[in-house]
């Protein structure tokens, strides 16, 4: 009897945990996208107004932001400075693959960041401004979509976790 009770509690807790984890991933994606957009906005300013070298601009653009997005930009900045023979595109690809599962981004967003890397630093500041603005616009669209999905799915995942757990417990008992 006790064994059954403990087992049921464990099943319920695990199922709820999975539900809450899914919900938290759902919440993280728009947050990460929002933070990336904010960092890109700062990066654009550092490039256009301060003419800072790319590694310095990328390193400074995370001011006021923390979490995985900061780690991403800081890692990119460090590699830009230390591995000058790599292009920004190669560096962004490498850092993104290292941070898979930490940054809650989907493949269209990752693609946009790859393309951003391909155009960073190679043109004059006016073109850089245009290009970063375009990337920000695209990411804003993804963010709106991610926010809509978050509102739709967060509660659903939580309830699904709890209710799924309860259902398994009932079936097993």
């Amino acid at each position: 009897m006790w064994l059954k009770l403990i087992g049921s509690i464990l099943v319920f807790l695990v199922s709820s945990y999975i539900g809450f984890q899914m919900a938290s991933r759902c919440q993280a994606r728009p947050r990460h996208l929002r933070q990336i957009i904010s960092c890109l906005g700062s990066l654009r300013s550092y490039i256009i107004y301060a003419y800072l070298p790319l590694h310095e601009a990328v390193s400074r653009c995370t001011n006021g932001i923390d979490g995985p997005v900061t780690v991403f930009f800081q890692n990119v900045a460090t590699m830009l400075e230390k591995e000058a023979l790599l292009t920004p595109e190669e560096i962004i690809k490498r850092v993104l693959s290292e941070m898979q599962g930490i940054l809650m981004l989907k493949s269209p967003e990752i693609e946009v960041l790859h393309v951003l890397g391909g155009n960073l630093g190679v043109m004059n500041s006016k073109e850089q401004e245009k290009y970063i603005s375009l990337v920000i616009e695209q990411l804003e669209r993804f963010e709106n979509e991610a926010t809509r999905l978050r509102d739709l799915n967060t509660k659903m995942y939580r309830y699904l976790g709890i209710c799924g757990g309860m259902a398994i417990v009932i079936i097993l008992i």
Binding site: I47, L52, L54, A84, L85, V122, N124, E127
Partner: protein
């Protein structure tokens, strides 16, 4: 190993190798140190041999870095070499060098200038940018402490003032190196004269070799540097803000530079500057600079050449009496 060898090697290791692709670094490293001691330029041209310029002469190397004479055995630079070098120089930030690219050169740490040639993009008669860059010329800047020793007595008055001085020389004859040492000596002072406040307008970051606005070479204890600022604006800014006794700048040429020099001289500030040229007579016919010479704004002309070696003082001339105060041939 001599002091010059060690000096050249340290310049190459510290400033030049970090901006060259590994393949080129390996080749240059294989060249004997005694040859590298005289290295003044490294020239990269797409599909042409890698040239190492040693003062008045140049050498080519094979892919193993051995010095050779036959062009068909020479290592030919490719597009990747030039692109990778540009990438390393700009640290993937070409936009940050927009202004420099328009003028056809970049300056790296240590004050070493890198000249560029390629295809110009022209808009409304002005060069907007350079694309398809096909040639690079890496010019090694050397700090030679004391190279202006023999010039100093001719440009200082007994009262300790600096005479307005124009250094005249063709490219690669050591103008900037001598100007840098003059600034250092004027700023520091000696037992014969006291140090003076010197303002340096370093438009191309070559004189002071600034990194993050701080000079990386010895310019004396009383020197203020305005880095990467156009000469004309910078000279007037320094006069208003830092009240220098001497203003130094490099390579006069444009109409606004001449106006600024005139303003500085009228404000009672001494001016040390340089101009490209071979002879004074040749400069007299040149627009803008010719005016300054005609009206004798400068009191001393120092003519340099690279014979027998870079930085040779040919003549020191007193402009007032047109008298040659010092001549290489009659020393």
């Amino acid at each position: 190993m001599t002091v010059t060898n060690i000096l050249s090697e340290s310049i190459l290791e510290k400033y030049i190798y970090p901006v060259l692709p590994v393949r080129l670094v390996t080749m240059i490293r294989a060249v004997p140190a005694a040859i590298l001691a005289n290295l003044t330029e490294i020239r990269l041209r797409i599909n042409r041999p890698l040239l190492l310029v040693l003062g008045n002469t140049d050498i080519i190397v094979n892919p193993m870095g051995r010095v050779i004479t036959k062009y068909d055995e020479a290592y030919l630079c490719n597009q990747d070499d030039v692109h990778k070098t540009l990438q390393l120089i700009s640290k993937n930030s070409l936009y940050a060098f927009e202004q420099e690219l328009k003028m056809g050169f970049l300056t790296i740490d240590g004050g070493h200038r890198i000249g560029l040639a390629g295809q110009a993009i022209v808009e409304a008669g002005d060069v907007k940018a350079l694309k398809n860059i096909s040639s690079l010329n890496i010019r090694l800047a050397r700090e030679v402490i004391g190279c202006a020793d023999k010039i100093m007595p001719y440009i200082m008055t007994l009262e300790g003032h600096v005479l307005n001085t124009l250094i005249i020389s063709p490219p690669r004859c050591g103008k900037t190196t001598i100007l840098r040492d003059m600034i250092r000596q004027i700023s520091t002072g000696s037992r014969l004269y006291k140090g003076l406040q010197v303002g340096v307008v370093d438009e191309r970051s070559e004189i002071a070799a600034c990194k993050n606005g701080i000079s990386t070479v010895d310019l004396g204890v009383r020197t203020d540097v305005l880095d990467s600022c156009p000469k004309a604006i910078g000279m007037l800014m320094l006069i208003r803000s830092m009240s220098p006794a001497v203003v130094a700048t490099d390579e006069l040429g444009r109409a606004e530079d001449i106006y600024a020099v005139r303003e500085a001289l009228n404000a009672g500030v001494s001016v040390l500057t340089t101009v490209h040229g071979n002879e004074i007579n040749e400069l007299l016919h040149r627009p803008y600079v010719g005016e300054l010479l005609e009206h004798k704004y400068f009191q001393r002309y120092i003519v340099l050449s690279d014979v027998p070696r870079v930085g040779t003082v040919e003549k020191i001339i007193d402009s007032k009496n047109n008298e040659i105060l010092w001549d290489k041939t009659s020393k």
